[in-house]
């Protein structure tokens, strides 16, 4: 019973708060844009939204050793913040006008990605808690603090639970990327650029 309560308090409630904040912020932003007759801004928010999400991939590249700069922990925080803000912008952008199927699919894929990402965030924290036990072991073995911190971070991301989560997160991301690119490309082809 106590364990269940702890699960709700530590994982379910923070997850709902984070996702709820995203939806609430979207509704408030959309209402404000309508209130001040600035709906046109929503149409263009898709562009900065995509840029922020693209920047958030720095963490994914760092994890796969495609780049070597930046602290993994900092990049992960940046990944979470930028995807949240980017998703907010795209939700506001989508809330203004969606008339056809492709952008709807891209939006649904993005939302699935956000939910999956937020789940991953709490799974990662759970795995880190298990890792603290490992920390004691590494300390006893006489490794330096800096080395231990780096090792624990990567250990936590490769924890079995995270591997299972990643098996879900990656295909969803793939769907979002492909549908997003298709939507952007269709806009490039058919938009009135003059």
């Amino acid at each position: 019973m106590n364990m269940e309560r702890s699960l709700i308090r530590k994982e379910v409630i923070p997850f709902l708060k984070m996702f709820g904040a995203l939806i609430l912020s979207t509704m408030i932003t959309d209402a404000l844009l309508h209130q001040f007759n600035l709906v046109w801004i929503g149409r263009w928010l898709g562009i900065p939204g995509v840029i922020l999400i693209l920047l958030s991939f720095l963490y994914s590249m760092r994890k796969r050793k495609k780049i070597s700069f930046g602290k993994p922990m900092t990049l992960l925080i940046l990944h979470e913040v930028l995807t949240w803000l980017g998703a907010l912008m795209i939700l506001v952008h989508a809330g203004i006008h969606i008339y056809t199927i492709l952008p709807w699919l891209a939006l649904l894929a993005m939302l699935a990605n956000v939910i999956s990402g937020m789940t991953g965030k709490y799974l990662l924290e759970r795995s880190r808690r298990y890792m603290t036990q490992k920390k004691a072991i590494y300390s006893q073995e006489g490794f330096s603090d800096d080395y231990i911190e780096k090792k624990l971070f990567w250990d936590s991301t490769t924890f079995d639970l995270m591997k299972k989560w990643r098996a879900v997160h990656l295909p969803i991301t793939l769907a979002f990327v492909v549908l997003g690119i298709a939507h952007i490309l269709s806009i490039f082809i058919f938009w009135e650029w003059k």
């Binding site: 008339y99 492709l102 793939l174 938009w191 650029w193």
Partner: protein, 266 residues
């Protein structure tokens, strides 16, 4: 299920969606059906769109010859019930169809992608508002002929700057035609000598009697037929902030005096 299998299934589905978008763009990409008149173009996006550019006017003009718009259909049939007074499209300074027409019902047909600007019209036509707009039929507008720009801007009908009650209220004694006070539809100026009631001699006599010598700008104190109110304003010196010039103080004095009643013809 192995990770690679999952990714493969997702990839196959995505490929199917992309193929649908390519071969059925009207289903996957088009923001709604085109207007009924363009129904036959529903599956031919590039009839109107040039990739990476948009819908240039040349695409529209290929069917809709500017000189025929409003006069005959694209099939050559004469349009007899055209309501506009002028051939509007022929008077545009440039061809920019999508400024006013968006075509797809999904984004509301005729809701502009950009916004119509009156600057797109030839200068002379910009002043002929009733060439395109119907005259409002309310009591005030029925009496006004032309010169809409005195109260309205080209951006929107409202807000209008006109609020007659701020200058003068129409009470039972002043239920009259605009032209009684505003001669030649000149709403920058007015005269109170436009009716028999207010003859020059009578006005002069009544004001001098009260010791008032500066009485030509009547509405400074008289905001209606209420004499008590006028006296209160005179004593407090709380005059109209926004003043119209009476003709007697305006540059139009010469041309308007001949219309006014004076001591000789009252």
């Amino acid at each position: 299920m192995k990770n690679k299998t999952v990714i493969l299934i997702v990839a196959v589905n995505l490929a199917a969606l992309i193929l649908l978008a390519i071969f059925l763009p009207q289903l996957m990409i088009s923001p709604g059906k085109p207007i009924d008149a363009h129904a036959e173009l529903a599956t031919d996006c590039f009839a109107c769109h040039t990739p990476f550019i948009g819908s240039p006017p040349t695409k529209c003009i290929a069917c809709h010859k500017v000189e025929n718009i409003g006069k005959s259909t694209t099939k050559g049939l004469i349009i007899e019930d055209e309501k506009k007074n002028v051939a509007f499209h022929q008077k545009l300074i440039e061809d920019d169809c999508v400024s006013c027409h968006s075509d797809h019902k999904g984004v509301k047909a005729f809701r502009p992608i950009s916004h119509f600007s009156h600057n797109l019209l030839e200068v002379t036509l910009q002043k002929q508002c009733d060439s395109c707009h119907n005259n409002p039929v309310d009591d005030l507008h029925r009496k006004v002929k032309g010169n809409c720009a005195q109260c309205h801007t080209q951006n929107a009908w409202m807000p209008a700057t006109f609020g007659h009650e701020k200058l003068f209220r129409f009470d039972k004694d002043h239920d009259t035609e605009c032209v009684t006070c505003h001669i030649n539809n000149d709403y920058d100026n007015y005269t109170c000598y436009g009716c028999h009631e207010h003859s020059r001699s009578k006005i002069r006599e009544e004001h001098v009697e009260e010791g008032i010598r500066d009485y030509e700008n009547c509405t400074e104190c008289h905001r209606s037929g209420d004499e008590d109110e006028a006296k209160r304003i005179w004593r407090s010196k709380d005059f109209n902030i926004k003043k119209l010039k009476p003709y007697e103080q305006s540059e139009n004095k010469e041309k308007t005096h001949k219309h006014q009643y004076d001591d000789n013809n009252s």
